[in-house]
């Protein structure tokens, strides 16, 4: 693996080929906020919170650091006026869904995000995809997935699989930043309790 030299926030960083900017930053203790990143999962690039500025050949651009591969000689900045403005907006858009989420509230303090900038939305899922991806990539069970697209996108459990797998597992529960996942699971369970695909002894 060849070594790649780049600069992040004024610091010289030695990274190996194939690393992402986020991994390179982490390796030298530089913090970049994320919502949809998890070290056990493939990078998703959905929340866009980890955007950073990359300067190369006299031009600058904004890229998503959890996905962008390291390149020789680039200059990276993790905080600029524009980046902060965009992160603030992203947080405000998410806070409209989940104003009580611990992660969002903490980040909101850092970026001065106003939880009331937008009217509250009905669904408090923020589509980080951690639950779906964890169940697919780490557990291989595919008990929960996405449905539909755009503003109608939601997470959805497959009741038959959930009945067999979830009660013993629930490892995804602690990943959810908003508890929308737990709510979805409980809803699925109660909807099918009338005609249970659930075994009697899993009822609590």
């Amino acid at each position: 693996m060849s070594e790649i030299h780049l600069e992040i926030d004024g610091q010289e960083v030695k990274a190996s080929e194939g690393m992402t900017l986020l991994e390179a930053a982490k390796s030298v203790g530089i913090y970049i906020p994320t919502l949809c990143y998890h070290e056990k999962l493939e990078p998703y690039g959905g929340c866009r919170l980890c955007i950073v500025e990359v300067e190369q050949g006299g031009r600058t651009k904004l890229v998503v650091s959890c996905v962008y591969p390291v390149e020789s000689g680039i200059v990276v900045r993790t905080r600029t006026e524009k980046i902060d403005r965009i992160r603030k907006m992203i947080l405000e858009l998410q806070l409209a869904h989940a104003p009580d989420s611990f992660e969002l509230v903490e980040l909101a303090k850092e970026y001065g995000a106003d939880p009331n900038r937008f009217e509250k939305e009905a669904s408090f899922c923020i589509h980080c995809g951690l639950c779906v991806r964890y169940c697919a990539e780490v557990k291989g069970k595919h008990a929960v997935g996405f449905i539909d697209r755009g503003t109608r996108k939601e997470i959805s459990f497959i009741p038959e699989i959930a009945a067999q797998e979830c009660w013993q597992c629930k490892e995804c529960f602690e990943l959810c930043p908003t508890e929308a996942l737990q709510a979805a699971y409980v809803l699925t369970e109660s909807l099918f309790s009338v005609n249970p695909p659930f075994k009697a002894d899993t009822k609590h």
Binding site: V132, A136, H142, A143, V144, G145, F146, I147, D148, R149, S156, I158, I161
Partner: protein, 150 residues
Amino acid sequence: MDKQRIDQIIDNYHGEASYLIQVLLDIQSENNWLPKEALEQVSERLAVPLTRIQHIATFYKAFSLVPKGRHGIHICMGTACHVRGATRVLDAVQDLTGIKPGETDLDLKFSLETVNCLGCCALGPVVEIDGKTHGKMVPAEAAAVLKNYE
């Protein structure tokens, strides 16, 4: 739709997972909707998780997870038709049928969809019912056109 027919469709594509969408399109076209049993069968034969199939069946507009009406009304909402007043035609059809785009009425008579450009912009606003194109539609004519369908 019977299991054998679904197996035949899957065999047409040699059971290859990358043809998942083509398989579902064929089932949708013959059966007019995708029953859950069909999705489960496809999931098993193509070795693809049901969550992925569920996502595909809801992501793409061509698929329906519920039975559709006898007559499909497609109202073009492309830019050219929009500029010529398609929204007013849609309002009129919604009032007359009692359903909104994506819905089917209770008698399973009409299913209403909006589509983005049928490619006959010269005839805009365009309403297509059961494949037949009704051009230069105006709200006042909507009732007369819909009366023709049982």
